[in-house]
Amino acid sequence: MNNIYTSIAIAGVGEADLFVNRVRSAKDLAVEASLNAMRDAGITSKDIDGVITASPSADPHFVFSSLVCEALSINARVTTALQNAGASPLLGIMYAARVIASGEAHTVLVCESDSRGAKFKGDKIQAMRAARPWSDDFEDPYGLTVPAKYALIAQAWMHRYGAKPEDLASVAVAAREHGRRQPLAIKKEALTIEGVLNSPMIASPLHALDCCPVSDWGGAVLVTSLERARDMKKKPVRILGAGEGHGAYHLHETRELPSSATSLAAKRAFDMAGLTPKDINVAQVFDAFSIAAILALEEIGLCAKGEGGLFFSSGRSALDGDIPINTTGGMMTWGNAHIIVLPEAVRQARGDAGINQVKDVQVSLAHGIGGPMSLSSTLLLAQ
C-alpha cells in the first residue's frame, strides 16, 4: 500500500492556557489554541483550508467545526467534527493526512477543546453524567461511571499480574514529578504513593488521585504537506507511522480483559514506520486514569505485560529515564486535555520542548484512547 504519510508534515502546535481563571467557551478555547498553533507555524487563518475538530461534551454544539471555522474566519474546503472521545485528536491528524494526500485541502487545522472545568460544577462525576445525552441499557441501570469502567479494567489487570494498588499509584506520582516543573502547574509539591492511596476511593481499586482532574482545555495542530511545511517557521515534523485499533464498545463484549485496542494501533504504526518499540525515545500516552497509562506502555510494547506500574515506580519513565513518559505531566496534571499529547510529542521531535526536552530524540510517540477499550490511536513522529 502506498504510504501517504511520507508526504505529510506537522507544521505547528499550540495550546490554550490551562488552569487559568478565565471564562472561555469550547469555541474560545479552540480559537486560542489554534491561534497559538498558527503563530508557531508562522501562518494565518487565510493559509488554512481544512478544519477537523472534536466534539465538546460540556459545551456541545452540532457542527462544532463550522462554529470554529466561522470564529477563525477560515474558508474551509473540508471540515468535520469527530466524536471519538480521547482518540479524536490523533484520528484527526490521520484524517487530515488523508485529506491532504488526496488533494482536497492543503493545510488542515486539527483542534480539540472543551470547557469542562467551567461547566461541570460540584460533583464532577454527576455533572459529567448529567451532561451526557444518552443512556446505555446494558450499563447505566447498574450505576456505571467512567472511573468505574476503568476500575473494572484495573481490577482485571491486578488480578492477572498479581499487581497492587501501589503499582497503579506510581503513575500519578511519576506524572506529578513532571507536572510540578511546569510553570502553569497548580500543584507544585511532590506526590507520594501513600498520598495517592490516602485519597478518597472513587471506584476500587482507583483512588481520586488515580483519576485526572476535570478541566478546561484547548489544543491545536497544523497538518500540511512536507513541501509546504518546509516554507513555514518551524522545523517540519514527519509522521513515520500512524495506526488505529478498534475493540468492543461495551466492556462486557471485550473478551480479553484487561487488554485495550492499543496493541493493534501501535503494531500498525510500527509496521508502517518499519520501527519497533525499542526505537522510541519519548512517549506521550493517554493517562486519564492510572490504569490507562499502564496498559498503554504494556500494549505499545515499551515494557512487559504486568510491568507498567514498575516502569513508573523504577524511574524508567522519568525525564532522565529509559523512555520518558508524559513529559509535561500528562492528563494527570492537565485534566481532560486529551490533545495535549500532540503538541508535546511534536516539540519533543523538534527539540524545542524547553525544560521538558529529552536528549537526542529520534522518534517521539503520541497515543490516544477513546472509551476504555473502544478506540486507540498511535503516531510515531520525527524530524
Partner: protein, 136 residues
Amino acid sequence: MSEVKKPQPTPTDWTQPFWSGCYSNRLKLLHCLSCDSNHLPTRLVCTCGSTEFEWIESKGPGEIISFTIVHRAPDPAFKGELPYVIAIIELQEGARLMSNIIDTNLQEIAIGKKVECVFEMVDEEIGLPKFKLLID
C-alpha cells in the same frame, strides 16, 4: 417532590425479549444458529457474521470476570446504595454482561467467584438481571 429515578432500560423490538424475560425471572440470550455462541442483544449480528439467532434461556451460574466497588455515584438516585458493586460476569453459556452483585459482604467478592442471577423488577414490564454470590 418526585423521587430521582435511576436510568432504566428502554426496550426496542430487538431487546424486548431480554428485558421481558428478566421480568418473568428468565435470563434470555441470543443463541447463534450458525456457530452456537451466545450473546446479549448488544449485538444484532453474531461475531461469526451470522444473523440467524434464537432466544435461549441461561441455565446456570456465572463467574466474576472483574468487579469494582463504586464509592461515587453517577447520579443522586444511586447515592443511597453506596458503596455498591458493579461486575462483568461470564455466564455458563459464554455470554458476558455487566450487572450488580447484591446482598453481599464486600470483602467476599473476588474475580473467579461463582454468582447466580436474581431479578429485580423495574416496572410492570421490565426486570433487571442482578447477581448474588453462590455459597459453595
